[in-house]
């Protein structure tokens, strides 16, 4: 068994588990796929941390380029990031997306072995956070982050500090309220037992004691645990609008008042048990609804895309500044791989901007001096100098984000709130009719008890419970399949959608895998030379091509030169060799395509490696299943793939190319104005506006830890084929909620039958309420599972 394991792992990199290239890096009996992985291994073994590899096979992640961290030396920025600072120690919480297994926990909690200035580090696995306390006089924050980078755990520090917003995903006060409500409910039930079973003569003396105790326990139940219902009811009434909290607040109030009157006037035991039980269950439902997922953050805006700081030039000197402080007229120094944070004019240097965030087109665009570069562009060439013409908050990108259209979207009505209106109306009608009847009969005592009893028994608590229970069960089914929905309300929106809009790049095609083809011809000898050259670069394209070439012989080279992101040159056996972008070719070539990696050997053009995006598998079947929806494709790319899309989609699907982010947004708006409920599927920042505007926006991603735009749901690329099932299950979910509502009404009718006669005894209420609750909760749970199985999702 052990031998098998060994041979299986031998073909993989010891550190990251990637397939090994033909010629591998080898040290201390272990094979590595790249120099980066080997370097991490060396650091770990030098510091006696090789236990890292004990807990999992290949626990590491491939080593990436080091980023610029000068900004972490700025006191102002440090201050914003630190949780706590004292004379000699600081505490910081960092978000590290690479945390994925128990080895990561082990290693990151042993950071003190790598640097003695680190006192301790604690991991929160689900939130992917590490809290580090360190001596800031011995190690600076920048050095700390560099240490983390070196071992392959690069923290993600963005302007909208992900870490700090995550910490309160479940309301802390709510949990405390649940604890109190549970305590009250348990005690009140104990004190109510004698009442249920009847009191014999000599026990009567305790009746008033239990009554008063129950009243005492009802006070915190109504006014501490149930306070949110009152505030919510009052605010909604102020806006002349009834939500589900309004009848709930009324019921809590009536239950409390009736208990208080009965105990004070010693006319009966009151409804303290119903009150505390109701509050406890309601809060439980609320908690279930709030408990969304820790590991993904949805409410992102443009700020999460931008780095926290950028290098500015002040009198020719580089100085990192925080993005909020950028003013018009500032000179920025943007290096290879960095984002332009604000609209700016190119002042110096060669700009090849990757505008894929903005337009969806990943091919770099050449900009000449004096041209405007919009925020969101990524420089792929040498460093450039820019002059800011608009502050960050007014740039093109943020303009798109803060579009006025979004404001209409805030009042999404869910099923509960719609029903609550009619429900409250019906309850009041019944209650007043019963009261009037008994008043005509001159029985004011019965009138009062009928009025309160109707309100108590017609409790919509089932509605307040069945929705969160059903929808969270559906959410967890989705979650297991790689579909992460923001919250329970969003599931209802999903069920209503009738129009689907697809983005092309990254949505219908996959960004992770690419097919590599070569236009031209290379002899075996030349292949080895190209491979020997590419082997020295850690650029992802080089690695892709190297793998595709599959060569097992390498030459040594001299005069190696790499222009990051542009190309490589070197001398091999007196042959000069170049591989890279068209713009850097040493000779002029006319009929070459813009994209791809071009190869020139000894000033002779040999051809280029073409990188084709791969279409996601099963697309045709997916589109067929979705044929009952209106479909549309909006691509920011050129129409070079039109024929492929035409074969996948039916003829009447509208397919548009070269769509700017604003055009995408307008298309969604237009469809919505025609009364359609629109679902948008996209991946990049260029879809961000449309995703946000749509009724249900899905961000497709191949790695859920990558930054995704603000949306209602995140869908893993390989789960795209389940989309029709997801939509169907959400529709079934709404059916379940409606059925459970019907069941609840049936129970209520029994209760109301007693209530209008003024003969609702506390015992009846105490039995009826839990029975109806248990029925509803078990019904929703079982029905959800049944539907999930029917849709083949579990």
């Amino acid at each position: 068994m052990e031998d098998q394991n060994k041979t299986a792992t031998q073909a993989l990199c010891y550190h990251c588990g990637e397939d090994l290239p033909k010629v591998k890096y080898h040290t201390a009996d272990k094979d590595f796929c790249c120099a980066g992985c080997m370097a991490v291994f060396k650091i770990l073994s030098d510091n006696n941390l090789c236990n890292y590899y004990v807990y999992n096979n290949n626990p590491g992640r491939q080593f990436k380029n080091e980023s610029h961290l000068e900004y972490l030396d700025e006191p102002k920025i440090i201050e914003q990031l630190l949780d706590y600072k004292q004379e000699r120690s600081s505490i910081i919480t960092l978000y590290i997306p690479a945390i994925h297994c128990s080895s990561c926990i082990w290693l990151l909690e042993h950071l003190y072995k790598i640097n003695s200035a680190i006192f301790s580090s604690r991991i929160d696995f689900l939130k992917k956070q590490v809290t580090i306390s360190f001596n800031h006089t011995e190690i600076s924050l920048r050095q700390l982050v560099e240490t983390l980078n070196q071992i392959g755990y690069e923290p993600l520090i963005s302007l909208q500090d992900v870490v700090k917003e995550h910490s309160s995903s479940v309301d802390k006060a709510l949990v405390l309220k649940i604890a109190v409500a549970g305590f009250l409910m348990g005690n009140v039930m104990l004190f109510s037992f004698p009442e249920y079973f009847g009191l014999s003569g000599f026990e009567r003396q305790f009746q008033s004691l239990f009554g008063w105790l129950n009243l005492a326990f009802s006070i915190p139940a109504a006014f501490y645990c149930g306070r949110d219902y009152f505030t919510s009811a009052i605010t909604s009434l102020k806006h002349r609008h009834i939500n589900l909290d309004t009848p709930l607040a009324l019921i809590i109030a009536v239950l409390f008042l009736r208990t208080a009157f009965e105990v004070v006037l010693s006319t009966g035991p009151g409804f303290a048990d119903t009150l505390t039980g109701l509050v406890f269950l309601l809060l439980m439902g609320k908690w279930l609804k709030q408990r969304t997922y820790h590991h993904i953050s949805f409410d992102r805006d443009y700020r999460s895309y931008f780095p926290i700081a950028v290098t500015s030039l002040l009198n020719g000197k580089e100085k990192p500044v925080s993005i909020n402080e950028i003013k018009i007229g500032d000179r920025l120094w943007i290096r290879n791989g960095e984002l332009v944070p604000a609209d700016a004019i190119l002042m110096k240097g060669e700009a090849w901007m990757d505008m894929s965030f903005v337009t969806g087109e990943s091919e770099p665009v050449h900009k000449v001096l004096g041209e405007i570069i919009y925020a969101g562009g990524r420089q792929t060439c040498e460093a450039i100098e820019l002059e800011v013409i608009k502050p960050v908050s007014q740039s093109y990108l943020t303009g798109l984000w803060n579009n006025d259209n979004y404001k209409n979207n805030t009042e999404k009505q869910n099923f509960n709130d719609t029903v609550a209106k009619y429900f409250s109306l019906g309850v009041f009608l019944t209650a007043f009719t019963a009261t009037t009847y008994w008043l005509f009969q001159n029985d004011s005592h019965k009138a009062w008890s009928a009025f309160t009893a109707v309100i108590i028994v017609a409790c919509p608590c089932v509605l307040a419970l069945s929705t969160p229970f059903t929808l969270s069960a559906i959410l967890s089914v989705f979650d297991k399949k790689g579909f992460y929905v923001k919250n329970t309300d969003a599931v209802e929106e999903l069920a209503k959608c009738d129009t689907l809009i697809f983005d092309k790049t990254g949505t219908l095609t996959s960004n992770e895998n690419a097919e590599i083809g070569f236009n031209g011809s290379l002899t075996g000898e030349e292949k080895s030379m190209v491979a020997s050259l590419l082997r020295n670069s850690i650029h992802p394209l080089s690695r892709h091509i190297l793998k595709a070439l599959n060569v097992d012989r390498f030459y040594s080279l001299s005069d190696y030169k790499e222009v990051v992101g542009k190309g490589l040159t070197a001398l091999i056996n007196n042959h000069s060799i170049y591989a890279g972008h068209l713009s850097m070719l040493p000779i002029a070539v006319e009929s070459a395509s813009e994209s791809g990696v071009h190869v020139v050997i000894d000033h002779v053009y040999k051809g280029c490696f073409d990188i084709k995006q791969l279409w996601r598998s099963g697309l045709a079947g997916l589109i067929l299943k979705l044929s009952k929806f209106k479909l549309k494709v909006l691509s920011g790319d050129t129409d070079k793939d039109r024929w492929m899309l035409d074969t996948i989609f039916t003829k009447n699907t509208s397919i548009r190319f070269r769509q700017s982010p604003h055009q995408k947004l307008d298309a969604v708006l237009q469809l919505q104005q025609q009364g359609n409920k629109v679902m948008m599927l996209g991946d990049g920042l260029n879809d961000a506006g449309a995703l946000k505007q749509s009724n249900f926006g899905i961000a497709i991603t191949d790695n859920i830890n990558n930054f995704t735009p603000g949306c209602d749901a995140i869908l893993k690329g390989d789960a795209l084929n389940f989309l029709p099932d997801f939509i169907q299950l959400s529709k079934d979910g709404l059916k379940i909620i409606k059925t459970s509502f019907a069941i609840a009404i049936a129970y209520n009718c029994i209760g109301i039958y007693f209530a209008v006669q003024g003969t609702l005894y506390p015992l009846v209420a105490a039995v009826l309420m839990p029975i109806s609750t248990v029925t509803i909760i078990s019904f929703t749970t079982l029905a959800t599972r049944w539907f999930a199985r029917k849709n083949k999702l579990i």
Binding site: N51, S102, V175, G186, N187, L190, F202, L213
Partner: protein, 59 residues
């Protein structure tokens, strides 16, 4: 039977103590992360006594 008055008081007091204990545990963050400690306890102690002694002398 008046002992019951005392016993009821005791039971409420006990329940209150438990409630307070829960408040304390929650406020001190013992429920913040319920996943990681479960993994953490599975890590073995490293048995490298000789090495650590060496380190003591050299530093």
């Amino acid at each position: 039977m008046s002992i019951l008055y005392f016993l009821v008081g005791c039971s409420v007091l006990m329940a209150l103590i438990f409630l307070a204990a829960f408040f304390w545990a929650y406020k001190t963050g013992q429920n913040d992360d319920v996943h990681t400690p479960g993994i953490r306890m599975l890590f073995d102690d490293e048995i490298e006594a000789e090495k650590s002694e060496e380190d003591h002398f050299s530093s």
